[in-house]
Amino acid sequence: MNNVFVYCEIEDGQVAEVSLELLTKGRTLANELACSLEAIAVGHNLEGVAAQVIPYGVDTLYLADDKRLYPYQTLPHTSVVVKLFREKEPQIALLGATSIGRDLGPRVSSALNSGLTADCTSLEIGTHFDRRANKNYESLLYQIRPAFGGNIIATIINPDHRPQMATVREGVMKKSILDPKYKGKVVQLNVADYVDDSDFVVEIIERHIEKSRLNIKGAPIIVAGGYGVGSKENFNLLFELAEVLGGEVGASRAAIDAGYVDSARQIGQTGITVRPKLYIACGISGQIQHRAGMEQSAQIIAINTDPEAPINSIADYVITGSITDIIPKMIKYYKKNTK
């Protein structure tokens, strides 16, 4: 009872990266709260899930396995999760901030009348004193996220409602196996007790999910471009530099909104979080939502025409000038000195 729960997303029997990252975080939170870590997977052919998740320190894994539960659909998945949460009364529930988690999370929170905080960048346990009610709260989940146009970080709490729910983007938390031989138990739910036939009202006519993704998260070097890159054509310079250095191209949201590159490349609070050896920020001002996704890079180079750009303050190298001048020079001198 009152444990930490993680909703595990499954695609083709494979547990999503973000779910494994959340299990890792969930284990840490459960240790601090001296409670168990539990996981729920809803889908079909889930035999392989236990071996994938229990090593992260899962004490109990609930499986709802039924042909009709894969691929994901809002109503049946909501029914399973809501019913299970009503029974188990978790104190914390974590979901990936993915197409699925962002569809399911709010629906579940609305049904349970509990609070949900989207896109957290950090989760901690802490206390809270409510002055008006003169009430002290022990062990609340601090849901920490950047808010409003930049430059503020908000800590959100749910003092009186359970579960305390949060979504987190892929890459924000680090995944790590606790113990390959961890002993956790698996509970098969009797699906008929959890869903109603009337939940299956959507017919999926066609579905196409990319397998191979850009490997931005794993790239040792990232050349990222912002609105200041100026055009799709200028982005080719960034692709060229990334290619020469053996890296990937990332982007700020403004660059994506302007149509310079595909949204899969977005780095930041609402994109992916990266920690490369080298991050080259080209024409990026460095608003907090962008920094949230890259400031843990080992080294940062900022290229910006504005000597006062906020990105400069977290950069190891600050180059003041235009990307159209500087990037060709970087390519040239890299080639010259590595021959």
């Binding site: 197409s99 569809d103 929170s109 609305s110 146009g149 080294q299 303050s313 600050v318 001198y333």
Partner: protein, 291 residues
């Protein structure tokens, strides 16, 4: 041919995409007043989907529902200029401090009062919070099906609809029955521009509070032209349980807000000269960061 009754959920938001230097006060906090208030971009995509259905099925009505301060009536006028049939501004101090759940509760109670609805269409998310929660939470409160991240209505025949969705890593086409709540992605077609004729027709559309504030006497005009009256509902116009409203009805509370003070690193500031750039590249190669 069937005509549909559609509600578009729209929000007025500060234009966080254009947070310039002047949007920050000297103490480093955000100067909200300096940010222009706009029609939330994905809500415009939602409106376009509604208007397309109206184009195809004459007799369809599109109403905009927005919750916010009085100035949010602008969102309804923008909708009228583009072809919406009307709108409701839900405005009351009782809604202040609502988180997404309390907002969804208020909206769903207003929707119940608006009568039979076939389709509720909202933008996927608002740019001031990016939470994407209100659409699904409204759907749950109304006990309706939701289809999120819609890019296109591929087919609509009687009560059966086929929708194309954009997912993180792919696409999906689904078929289901109305009534339905759908949320529309920014990758869906952009909203049509204002129609000049409609702009002329509706530029004087006002809510009652706006009229009182403007202090101009157009009473005769508003008596003759009921289409210029934008409905303004307060908490008393809808049935609510006060424990679910505003700050009280919000499970999430903001505990602290911290201004981020940039911890400046010891950066090397270099020029764009050939020599400086070559030196930097050599340093990076020598320290095995690259190469």
């Amino acid at each position: 041919m069937k005509a549909y009754s559609i509600i578009v959920l729209a929000k007025q938001v500060p234009d966080t995409r254009n947070v310039g230097k002047d949007a920050m006060k000297a103490d480093g906090t955000v100067n909200r007043a300096a940010l222009p208030a706009i029609f939330n971009p994905e809500d415009l995509n939602a409106l376009e989907q509604a208007l397309r259905i109206k184009d195809r099925y004459p007799g369809t009505t599109v109403k905009i529902l927005t919750m916010g301060p009085v100035r949010a009536a602008e969102v309804i006028r923008e909708g009228l200029y583009r072809g919406a049939d009307g709108g409701i501004l839900l405005t009351d101090r009782a809604f202040a401090g609502s988180d997404t759940l309390a907002t969804s509760y208020a909206l769903s109670q207003a929707i119940k009062k608006m009568g039979k609805t076939d389709l509720i269409i909202a933008g996927r998310q608002a740019i001031d919070g990016d939470t994407a929660q209100v659409g699904p939470q409204v759907a749950e409160k109304l006990n309706m099906l939701q289809i999120t991240y819609v890019e296109e209505v591929a087919e609509l025949k009687n009560d059966t609809i086929i929708l194309k969705r954009r997912l993180d890593r792919g696409v999906e086409t689904v078929k289901c029955k109305l009534p339905l709540v759908m949320t529309v992605n920014g990758t869906a077609p952009e909203c049509r521009v204002r129609n000049a004729k409609l702009l002329m027709q509706y530029k004087r559309a006002r809510t009652i509070t706006e009229l009182q504030r403007e202090n101009e006497d157009y009473t005769h005009l508003y008596n003759e032209r009921s289409d210029l009256n934008i409905a303004e509902w307060t908490v008393n116009d809808i049935e609510t349980d006060s424990s679910q409203l505003g700050l009280t009805g919000s499970p999430t509370k903001v505990k602290t807000i911290v201004n981020v003070v940039l911890q400046a690193k010891d950066s090397k500031v270099i020029s764009d000269s050939d020599a400086d750039i070559e030196n930097m590249m050599i340093e990076l190669i020598d320290s095995h960061v690259i190469g």
